[in-house]
């Protein structure tokens, strides 16, 4: 583990030189901007009328995001879905690119533990998740201020930010198994396909009432904050993250690397 510092340097240098964090941050920035735009449209009936369907949607968003409390609710849901997709892209890139770019073989017969190499990648993902969450949180807050939303208070901001951060943590945990899919699939297709499947299944699980037990539904339910989640949900999410990391480690330790 003494080598972790050096490995973190490698992972962070690769990520920031690739500009992937920049692109995903721009993606994250788009989410609060979109909501702010819809709120702006809803508050200007003449524009809303001209935009037809967009105007109707804007009115719906304006209804649910009329004050800071409702705005934070929307916001948290954005984190649960938006950060999930952006993080799946990020984790697919961090692990899958080693195979699509043919660089994985340079990580295999080296005098550092493979678990350290993987840990450096997971730490990068955690930092990436924090970056995306902060981009959404800060930009969303600024949008709210610019839109002069009513009903703001320090307690509300702290509580709302706390819920956003907790949702982001849960999303990060349920994204970890996609490192395994990127490794076993040796690229991007399998994790991205599995992400689509996970989202479909998550919606289905919510519809049939099993959302509290399905790992990829739980952050969404937390974001919606309709009912308090049972403690089992937290354990399911934690176990999903741990299982994802363990499966990734096992695969890197045991799978043949013929390419």
């Amino acid at each position: 583990m003494a080598e972790l510092g050096g490995l973190l340097w490698v992972e962070f240098r690769k990520a920031f030189r690739s500009r992937m964090p920049l692109w995903t941050s721009l993606g994250a920035l788009f989410l609060p901007l979109a909501i702010a735009f819809l709120l702006f449209v809803a508050r200007n009936p003449e524009i809303s009328h001209k935009l037809g369907l967009v105007g109707a949607k804007a009115n719906l968003v304006a209804y649910s995001g009329a004050d800071w409390a409702a705005y934070f609710g929307l916001f948290t849901q954005m984190v649960s879905a938006g950060v999930f997709l952006l993080l799946v892209i990020s984790i697919s890139w961090v692990f899958g690119r080693e195979f699509t770019d043919g660089t994985a073989k340079d990580l295999l017969a080296v005098p550092v533990q493979r678990i350290s190499i993987l840990l450096a990648k997971f730490i990068l993902i955690a930092a990436w998740a924090a970056l995306l969450t902060m981009v959404i949180l800060v930009s969303g807050f600024l949008m709210g201020v610019l839109l002069h939303l009513p009903g703001g208070s320090v307690a509300l901001f702290l509580g709302g930010s706390g819920r956003v951060l907790l949702t982001a943590c849960l999303v990060t945990l349920v994204v970890l198994p996609f490192a395994f899919f990127a490794s076993a699939g040796r690229g991007y297709l399998l994790p991205l396909g599995m992400a689509v499947l996970a989202l479909l299944m998550a919606n289905l699980a919510v519809v049939i009432g099993w959302g509290e037990l399905f790992p990829w539904s739980i952050p969404l339910l937390l974001a919606q904050a309709k009912t308090p989640l049972p403690p089992a949900s937290a354990w399911i999410v934690i176990l999903t993250g741990v299982a994802g990391m363990f499966a990734t480690w096992l695969w890197w330790m045991k799978a043949d690397q013929p390419r």
Binding site: R13, R19, G102, T103, K105, A109, V110, Q113
Partner: protein
């Protein structure tokens, strides 16, 4: 001499395909061992098994005294390698790629990066992103990564691929220097026999996953067929004269005479004298050594025949 690589009945089977079978070889310290074979012969699979990237389905491999196992950290501090096409992180510069490789080998001093950049002639490209490098410079970078941490054993898969003739000579000299003057051991695969003949101390020929022959380069030289070619105005007459003297000769399509017997090959001057005295003076005599490619194809052809029937 200390054994650096040893395999015992090493084998790898992928469901229906036997990629490598019963491979036993030994590489000693300070030598260049060349692993020769056609594409798909099992060279890269063997190298990947030696590096713990592929788990053998039979047998074992020992590298620098450590039995190779997947996921282990030993003995990789003392092993440098380049497998198949060298790849690098395209968004990083040459220097950053080497810096990344250095950090994967804790204990390698920072100045090793500059040293290897100079040694491999990469100074002009050190600040360039590797996505803009030519294939030859990618190959140089791959070699630089393999040599960066001053390993005792260097495992190279087709190291001359993509290099221009000057680059090939340069790498050949570098590898020779590393073994002769720095006590390093080189295990390399290649399908270019001429390159191997100039560089290697010992050669292993692999075909369809099996080691056909292991020999030193003197033995390789001895095993290659030789023939004496004689050009003269009247080949039929010359053949009669030679036959009367006990030399069997064949007239080839270009009307030259071919003699394969050892006395003729070892003493072409006797053939010359014989023909001159008989009034059929040759216009040319040349001893031709079988090309390495021909030798190799003869060897694998004989093996295929043996297996077929």
């Amino acid at each position: 001499m200390k054994t650096v690589i040893e395999t015992e009945s090493l084998g790898k089977r992928y469901s229906e395909i036997q990629a490598v079978e019963g491979l036993s070889l030994r590489v000693s310290e300070g030598e260049i061992y060349a692993f020769l074979g056609l594409n798909g012969a099992g060279k890269t699979t063997t190298i990947r098994m030696l590096l713990g990237m592929i788990r053998p389905t039979s047998g074992s491999a020992t590298v620098l005294g450590t039995r190779v196992r997947q996921g282990g950290v030993e003995p990789w501090a003392s092993v440098g390698y380049m497998v198949e096409v060298p790849h690098a992180y395209g968004e990083l510069t040459v220097r950053e790629n080497l810096e990344a490789a250095r950090r994967l080998h804790p204990g390698t001093p920072p100045e090793a990066v500059d040293k290897i950049i100079g040694q491999l002639g990469l100074a002009a490209y050190s600040s360039r992103r590797t996505s803009t490098l030519s294939h030859g410079n990618h190959q140089r970078l791959g070699l630089a990564k393999a040599l960066l941490h001053d390993p005792a054993l260097i495992i190279l898969d087709e190291p001359a691929n993509g290099l221009d003739p000057a680059g090939i000579v340069e790498i050949r000299e570098l590898l020779s220097d590393l073994t002769a003057n720095h006590g390093k051991t080189v295990f390399m695969s290649s399908h270019i026999l001429a390159e191997v003949a100039r560089l290697a101390h010992r050669v292993g020929i692999i075909h369809q996953g099996r080691l056909l022959r292991g020999m030193n380069t003197t033995e390789l030289e001895r095993e290659r067929r030789k023939r004496l070619l004689v050009r003269c105005g009247e080949p039929e007459v010359a053949r009669g004269i030679l036959a009367a003297a006990g030399y069997e000769a064949t007239i080839l399509t270009d009307r030259s005479l071919e003699l394969k017997s050892d006395p003729a090959i070892e003493h072409p001057e006797q053939i010359n004298l014989l023909l001159v005295n008989a009034g059929v003076p040759p216009s040319g005599l040349v001893v031709e050594v079988e090309g390495l490619e021909e030798y190799f194809l003869r060897l694998v052809g004989a093996e295929a025949e043996k297996m077929g029937g």
